[in-house]
Symmetry: C2
């Protein structure tokens, strides 16, 4: 009767730098007997921990700068200044994903170096171990424009179709369904977050029932879900864009007045 089932993968324990995360995940998954079409969602936090993406907490601001290629928007608040940046991977997110929660005291955690590569390594291991076509999503918690609260999205993926192109399909009335392309991997990450919760220490969730989205390991990763800033109508915060325009306009106005003087 169930079309989609999610299971929290328990018993993973604390992950340390250098841990073989793929093996640890596989051991924790084994009792669930992973099968063709299963998808495993892993939080970026444990991927980062295994990869040793740790820095001292006092280097937080520098770490954010190092992880960023561009400031998108910033806002002062009682606790300091929040920077929304374009991460070196193209993700747009607060504080470049640098995280101080659920980390060792005095340390901060950066995002994985390459979450698609991490997902691919895990998927490769799981497929070999279980002899099954398994997909992997690496999830992270992101804020959104226009909406309160955060949702988990896919920042890494392997072996799944992250975006379902419905452009060529027809709706129930026989007309083409245009433009719509569900971000399947993001919806999977969000669904897994409902199970993992935030403070339970459950870093992985098994998702069953989406075999139609599971494919070869050559499928493009979650980087396909990142819109290039040149294509983005919201590539810059409204205040930041206004100020940039104001400076350009002021120079134009001064030049125009100068031209009149000269006439």
């Amino acid at each position: 009767m169930t079309d989609l089932a999610l299971v929290a993968v328990r018993g993973i324990g604390e992950i340390r730098p250098g841990d073989d995360l793929a093996s640890i995940l596989a051991d924790a998954l084994a009792p669930h007997e992973p099968a063709d079409g299963d998808i495993v969602v892993v939080t970026s936090k444990v991927v980062s921990k295994a990869e040793g993406r740790v820095r001292p907490a006092e280097e937080r601001e520098q770490a954010i700068t190092d992880e960023s290629v561009r400031l998108v928007a910033s806002r002062a608040h009682p606790g300091g200044i929040t920077r929304i940046v374009e991460h070196r991977t193209g993700l747009v997110l607060a504080a470049a994903g640098v995280d101080a929660s659920n980390t060792d005291e005095g340390t901060i955690l950066l995002l994985p170096l390459d979450s698609d590569a991490s997902a691919l390594a895990i998927a490769t291991h799981l497929r070999e171990r279980f002899g099954a076509r398994i997909g992997v999503v690496v999830s992270d918690t992101l804020g959104r424009a226009w909406r309160n609260g955060q949702t988990d999205v896919a920042i890494g993926a392997a072996g799944i179709r992250v975006l379902e192109p419905l452009g060529g399909t027809l709706d129930a009335g026989g007309r083409p369904l245009l433009v719509t392309a569900p971000a399947v991997a993001d919806e999977i990450a969000g669904a897994a977050d409902l199970v993992a919760g935030k403070a339970d220490g459950v870093p992985a969730v098994l998702v069953r029932g989406l075999g139609r989205h599971v494919g070869d390991l050559t499928e493009p990763g979650a980087s396909r879900l990142v819109r290039r800033s040149g294509d983005d109508m919201f590539r810059l915060g409204s205040d930041e864009a206004y100020q940039a325009g104001r400076i350009a306009g002021r120079i134009e106005g001064l030049a125009e007045a100068g031209g009149r003087d000269g006439a």
Copy 2:
């Protein structure tokens, strides 16, 4: 073993203006024996159809204008101009949610008048019918800034906690988890979309395992997930904000040059 289970609610059939959607849903749900803590996700499309939110297709542009309170951004493309607007409900979305897919030929469909009220009416009916504490989400498919593809989010809700405030809770290391507030209702809507698909004509999904998020019918609805534009760093498209700044700057520049002349 399953922590979260989703079931497509089949057999609902085509919804027509004036249909008693709550009763139809209840009949289709009955075989699943809805119980305390269940959540029913219904697409806004069938809510709109039942509410007769239909206009002739040739009135599409006018309908978008009528449904909008503010233009947020626009972009020309081969098929015309896409308008991202602030909807009268505060939602920021393309074409004000006016939809021409899966509708009767020659017609378009507007969003429900008040999706929270629609969700409340359905939840009230389902709770009475089944004598169980059931939550309801009305979902719609929205684009996002910075990311390709769309996800389903909650535009209406009743009887569930749409936003889980983790501000006061501690992480596994005993430190306060700040800022994080998972948009639970959005993640539920997205999860349901994985089951409903887009072209299958399955307009409702039963979600089991999230009883901790189901509450009284006095819980605030999905409007709580809408960030007020004054609080939003991305309330205006980057190009639009730049142009507004440029005009203001040009006037400043002209005035400043005029002041110098007079000095």
